[in-house]
């Protein structure tokens, strides 16, 4: 057991437990904070994959932006006072069944499908990512920039309400 292997199992456990708390917690604030824990654990998993840049992007965007926006939404809608409504019972069983079936099918496919054995671990440096983003992937990069701008403007227009206009 190397350090990376031990780290993988611990971080996977943390991520899965935090994900369960995120989707089942009756208190919405706990769910948002559990998402932060899950994001940190996934960032750690990315570190074990030598994807340092991506790990810090995940921490920055998820813990730094998504979770903070989530906390603001919880506060602004007053959801922290009462626990969230429980899901209806038949939907709970059906939803769990469908999700478990899909998970089982996907895991089965992964286990059956032969994956090419790895000759060596491949790491991508930040320099390579930057160069690829501005050469080979420049079109999706620009599109995603426009998407971000549209989301920024859209979020402000939607959330500010009538009285501010």
């Amino acid at each position: 057991m190397t350090l990376a292997t031990i780290g993988f199992y611990i971080l996977s456990m943390i991520a899965i437990i935090a994900a369960v708390v995120t989707v089942t917690s009756r208190n919405l604030l706990y769910a948002v904070l559990a998402l932060a824990v899950a994001s940190l654990a996934v960032a750690g998993l990315m570190l074990t994959l030598s994807a340092e840049f991506l790990a810090f992007v995940v921490i920055l965007v998820y813990v730094g932006a998504v979770v903070v926006i989530g906390v603001f939404a919880v506060m602004l809608t007053g959801q922290f006072k009462k626990p969230t409504l429980p899901p209806s019972n038949e939907l709970k069983i059906l939803g769990a069944g469908v999700a478990a079936a899909l998970t089982g099918i996907l895991i089965g496919v992964v286990l059956v499908q032969p994956i090419a054995p790895v000759s060596a671990a491949h790491t991508v440096s930040v320099q390579q990512i930057g160069r690829l983003l501005l050469t080979e992937y420049v079109l999706p990069f620009e599109l995603v920039s426009v998407l971000l701008l549209a989301a920024l403007v859209g979020a402000i227009v939607i959330a500010r309400g009538k009285e501010a206009q």
Binding site: T2, A4, T5, F8, S12, A15, I16, A19, T22, V23, T24, A31, V32, A38, V42, L45, M46, A51, L54, V58, V61, Y62, A65, V66, I69, G70, L76, T77, T84, L85, P87, S88, K92, G95, A96, V98, L102, T103, L106, I107, V110, L111, I115, V118, A121, H122, V124, Q128, I129, L132, L133, Y137, P140, F141, V144, L147, L148, A150, A155, I158
Partner: protein
């Protein structure tokens, strides 16, 4: 350095995370909780792409993980803005009470 782990380990973790958040998408009634589950799905997929880069050696996986994270941030911003707009109008954000378009 990674003798104990293969791509399958990472794929299974990301599939389990995906399945858990899919259950959240099916069962959550609160709009904010639903958005959190969707964010978790995006996170699981980004992990999947990163594992593909590491084990299969194509840098496109990490690039598209970055795009996925960007899109999920944009989606969170717009989604939560919509939640706030709905709350201002209806004073709750329970999805099964959003019947404004029902004739």
């Amino acid at each position: 350095m990674m003798e104990g782990l293969s791509m399958i380990h990472y794929l299974i973790v990301s599939i389990v995370l995906f399945g858990i958040s899919l259950y959240g998408v099916f069962t959550r009634r609160n709009a904010i909780a639903l958005l959190l589950a969707i964010e978790l799905i995006m996170l699981a997929v980004a992990l999947n792409f990163t594992a593909a880069t590491y084990f299969l050696g194509h840098a496109g996986g990490q690039i598209f993980a970055i795009f996925i994270i960007t899109v999920s941030a944009a989606e969170a911003a717009v989604g939560l803005a919509l939640v706030i707009a709905i709350y201002r109008r209806q004073k709750n954000v329970d999805l099964d009470q959003l019947t404004l378009l029902k004739g």
